[in-house]
């Protein structure tokens, strides 16, 4: 999957904005948004928020989780736990990346927030690499991926599933050899009937 497509999926999530214009309810296919009154926060899909922000029609309200102290907690917990912890929101990295791109000034201590997110990302990527490797070495048939986010999964795709498929194919061939050793006089396919000249 292309990261652009993951961003596309994340963009339909809601975020609060404070518009600087007046407009009635808009009937989007995705659902109604508005009404818009200057200074009054209203919830809209992220793609719309980004679009309005780029046109200077609103400012974004910082999501509760996009703050240094909150992310610090998240980071510390991620460090402590052996498994992946649940992030405060789905698509946290993708949403944050979008917001910080178009609305840095709307976010307090944006630089620190960025660093903190990068730290969390790195800790989780290290875990992910290790568990991917453990999974492959262990020759398992199933793996739990709880609390991993789409963009993180994507970072090991298609490599992880592809490697799994190749090992699977080698194993199947080996199993075939084992079976034919066990039942040595297995019948082989005859080509004779297709040899008609």
């Amino acid at each position: 999957m292309d990261p652009g497509e993951i961003e596309f999926l994340a963009e339909k999530e809601s975020i609060e904005i404070v518009p600087n214009f007046t407009h009635g309810v808009m009937h989007l296919i995705q659902g109604d948004v508005g009404p818009f009154r200057p200074g009054l926060p209203v919830s809209v899909p992220l793609w719309l928020a980004v679009n309005l922000r780029q046109r200077q029609r609103c400012r974004l309200v910082r999501p509760e989780w996009l703050a240094v102290d909150r992310l610090e907690e998240v980071r510390d917990q991620e460090k402590e736990e052996a498994f992946f912890t649940e992030m405060p929101t789905s698509n946290i990295f993708v949403v944050a990346n979008l917001i910080l791109d178009v609305a840095t000034v709307d976010i307090e201590k944006a630089d620190e927030v960025r660093t903190m997110l990068k730290d969390i990302w790195d800790i989780r990527q290290a875990k992910l690499r290790k568990s991917v490797d453990d999974f492959i070495q262990g020759g398992f048939l199933h793996s739990k991926l709880n609390h991993l986010q789409l963009i993180e999964l994507n970072n090991v795709r298609p490599l992880l599933p592809h490697a799994f498929d190749q090992i699977n194919r080698l194993n199947l061939a080996t199993a075939g050899a084992r079976r034919s050793t066990q039942s040595s006089n297995s019948s082989k396919s005859f080509l004779t009937n297709s040899l008609s000249y």
């Binding site: 999926l9 719309l48 048939l141 199933h142 080996t174 199993a175």
Partner: protein
């Protein structure tokens, strides 16, 4: 201009659905179908009724937009949403065509056990494509050498979806006791519990029956 009437988007024509769905719900179904089709190795049941419903919505909205005055703030907003939907619909249809073309001999063989998942339009296209390809093979190679070539009899076989492929799934509804068979005979057979909200990597054939009924979503 009365905006409420103009942009009322409840789905009136809900005959295909058991219950009436709002446009937003259909859109969500479109997204699920798109992702499933994107990550499934095989062609899934066609969701043309969702696609058609979505395209109808797009067309109606485009008509409505053309009636708005230039500079109306709603125009760029709605256009943006329409482009998002068109991307998803087109991508979904492209994915299916790509699967059909890449596995053309597989999807055009008649198989009583496995009814075709091709829509009528896809079936027409597939037949046309297969004839074109076969004629191409004939004119440049097969016609000039004796013997027959049958796509169903060659070894190794012509391309077909690989159902043992590993996929990522997110569980939407609890499914207790999904059997994972170890085809390699290494005794790794297992039964796993798919609990709502959990995510897994597993061979597609172990969960393929759960995709269409919606208890798991491919990621």
């Amino acid at each position: 201009m009365d905006t409420i009437d103009l942009f009322d988007n409840s789905v009136n024509d809900g005959e295909e659905f058991e219950e009436e769905l709002t446009a937003a719900e259909v859109l969500q179904k479109m997204e699920d179908s798109w992702l499933n089709e994107k990550h499934s190795p095989e062609l899934l049941e066609s969701k043309m009724e969702i696609v058609e419903c979505m395209m109808e919505q797009v067309n109606t909205m485009e008509e409505n937009l053309s009636r708005l005055k230039k500079g109306d703030m709603r125009i760029p907003v709605h256009r943006m949403e329409l482009q998002r939907i068109k991307f998803m619909v087109n991508s979904y249809l492209r994915l299916r065509l790509e699967k059909i073309q890449s596995n053309i001999f597989h999807y055009t063989k008649s198989d009583d056990d496995n009814p075709s998942r091709l829509t009528q339009e896809e079936a027409d296209f597939a037949l046309n494509y297969k004839e074109n390809l076969t004629e191409h093979f004939n004119s440049l190679a097969l016609r000039h050498i004796p013997g027959v070539w049958e796509s169903t009899k060659v070894v190794p076989s012509t391309p077909a979806p690989n159902l043992c492929r590993a996929v990522f799934v997110s569980v939407r509804e609890d499914v207790p006791g999904v059997d994972i068979k170890d085809d390699a005979g290494k005794g790794r057979d297992d039964t796993i519990q798919l609990m709502k909200g959990s995510q897994h990597m597993v061979k597609y054939d172990a969960i393929s029956h759960l995709v269409d009924e919606g208890s798991v979503q491919l990621l």
